[in-house]
Symmetry: C2
Subunit: 413 residues, 2 copies
Amino acid sequence: MALIVQKYGGTSVGSVERIKNVARRVMRARERGDQVVVVVSAMSGETDKLVRMASEIAGRPDERELDMLLSSGERVTIALLAMALIEEGCPAESLTGRQVGIVTDSAHTKARIERIEADRVRQALAEGKVPIVAGFQGIDEKSDVTTLGRGGSDTTAVALAAALGADLCDIYTDVDGVYTTDPNVAPNARRLARISYDEMLEMASLGAKVLQTRSVEFAKKYDVPVRVLSSFDEGEGGGTLVTREDEAMERVVVSGVTYNKSEAKITIVGVPDRPGVAARIFGPIAGASINVDMIIQNIGSHGLTDLSFTIPRADLARTLEIARGIIADIGAKDLNVQESIAKVSIVGVGMRSHSGVAAKMFETLAREGINIIMISTSEIKVSCVIDLKYAELAVRVLHDAFNLGAEPAAAEA
Amino acid sequence: MALIVQKYGGTSVGSVERIKNVARRVMRARERGDQVVVVVSAMSGETDKLVRMASEIAGRPDERELDMLLSSGERVTIALLAMALIEEGCPAESLTGRQVGIVTDSAHTKARIERIEADRVRQALAEGKVPIVAGFQGIDEKSDVTTLGRGGSDTTAVALAAALGADLCDIYTDVDGVYTTDPNVAPNARRLARISYDEMLEMASLGAKVLQTRSVEFAKKYDVPVRVLSSFDEGEGGGTLVTREDEAMERVVVSGVTYNKSEAKITIVGVPDRPGVAARIFGPIAGASINVDMIIQNIGSHGLTDLSFTIPRADLARTLEIARGIIADIGAKDLNVQESIAKVSIVGVGMRSHSGVAAKMFETLAREGINIIMISTSEIKVSCVIDLKYAELAVRVLHDAFNLGAEPAAAEA
């Protein structure tokens, strides 16, 4: 008998009919003899509706109140799913973040889980009930409601799986797993049977949008196997298992190609090359809660250097305003902006033991006449910033160059 | 400086614009120097929407889960109203039933308040904030969410006013007070400036539908003055004050005329007149949660008696089924049903010291050729069951006979 945490996203519980489907899926798992704990999100569209009302009331709604508002959505789905199970004769009990004892810090709208008590979850299991837990929410030490930020239900599920020592955390979503790349761009993209936590982290934060990054960090930290699968797929054994690295994974050099088309690049030209300058540039930008992604400092001459960085395009106007103030301040010469860029990355744990991966990426892009504007590398990832118009082409040629469309026998192990 | 609890019903917070209006009203009270605690219901229509979803999922939804579901509605309105106040520069804090410490029994969907801790309400007031409290909900000793039943937000407001020792509890609704009768039936119906708790109880339970009966019982028990007024009326000084009896009230014989057109009458004919028969009839009916209103036992002859009672017409089929089983059991002769009845009542604390009130009611009905089917009286009320088709006529002639359309000087004191 395994203990499985199942998490269903907003689309999977988006209507009464879909909630009934989820109930049937939960019951099938129980019939196989497993113990099941369910985590659900709000019905799709509900959170947006609430956010819209809040924005009609206040320019920047109070964050404590925003959490109170948004936490209402999961109460609806946990109650409806528990009703659906009880109606089918399966004992169930809905539990809020507070009732589960999901204690977070007080950073409203983006709280972090500090601990999970889970006494009532264990008690419900002991009584033969299916605990239905509200995702995305917790309470702080003051007993105020907090939320974990968008996609926070994934984190609830993984953290709860860790707290309960569950055997598996199944994340049901509207895609059937993690792909070698976006199938809309490369039609021969292939679903990965397994992927390591680190690869998944790089895939997710680079825009694969399947699992929330924080939930993967949690899964890695507590070694919780996570399976991503579709709630609309009736078969078993599908999905992608996100798990600790094994030998088979290391034999595959590149696991996936990702891209991000929503960034812009700013270059500050003629920055005096002296200690403390970078801090004076990036301090105020971070202070405005703007996420700087890549930072490249070119080799300087005559005591001057150029400094380039990328930020979400949506934050461009605010960043420029801040940057203009800074260049006068630090005595830099000029500032230029490149709005139409894309970042394309290859990810794979096998890179650690294979040389020449980056070189092969650069060659592949060069063969297509794609100029590389910025490069950044990590142990298991190489990212190149290129002209936006080449994004899809670059993804396709890299996907083919690293043989991702073919079915490698080792990765299916 | 007075401490005022203001309660806004679902219509008053039915849209973003209306929530902003409520915020302005709260701020005006603060500008007058009063301390304000606000209790709100869910947006109108929301509770019905949730109930509809539940009924699509289960024939009889689990009641614990129904409470979890329904309690989501008030979270939305408390958060939005708090945001609206904060946006206008008025410190505010939303509080759920749990955070306020509204502890109830565990009778899900119709829980009764056992105590109110209100520590966080007092704390918020001490910090100069407006506490915005979720009506209708509490938690039981197991820390499970409970609801107080339809109209329960009135009870929350009055109970909280009692717990805080508030000077006044203002109930904002979509009518501007309590009327001598239904203005749709008698166009010369007049708003009462004051009414006693007991009269209000009779008016409310007889169908005046302005305040939830339980909230009036609470107000009476703890002597909380309650004012019913419209949230769409911008002037001050309107509404009806529900308060303890005073001498001015006693000088008015009849305060109002109410009616109820949703009952049906059942007569069990030839009931053996011996001890215990009534219990054998009404025990099973009460067991099926059917509310019996009037019960009349006619004088018997030859050891047999007729027993008539009224019930909600909606429960007629179920009641008949039960009653048919009973008549065989107790050896009664027959059963007949009168579906088209109405109950018309006159209410007034002045009846206690005035004789001839009931006689005047009977005479007035007789003059119009209206036959009286059943009569029931209490200290401050006389009710007559009549043919349904005469309901409106009876209300109008009684309203005129007791001079309710005129403005009695004493009642305005």
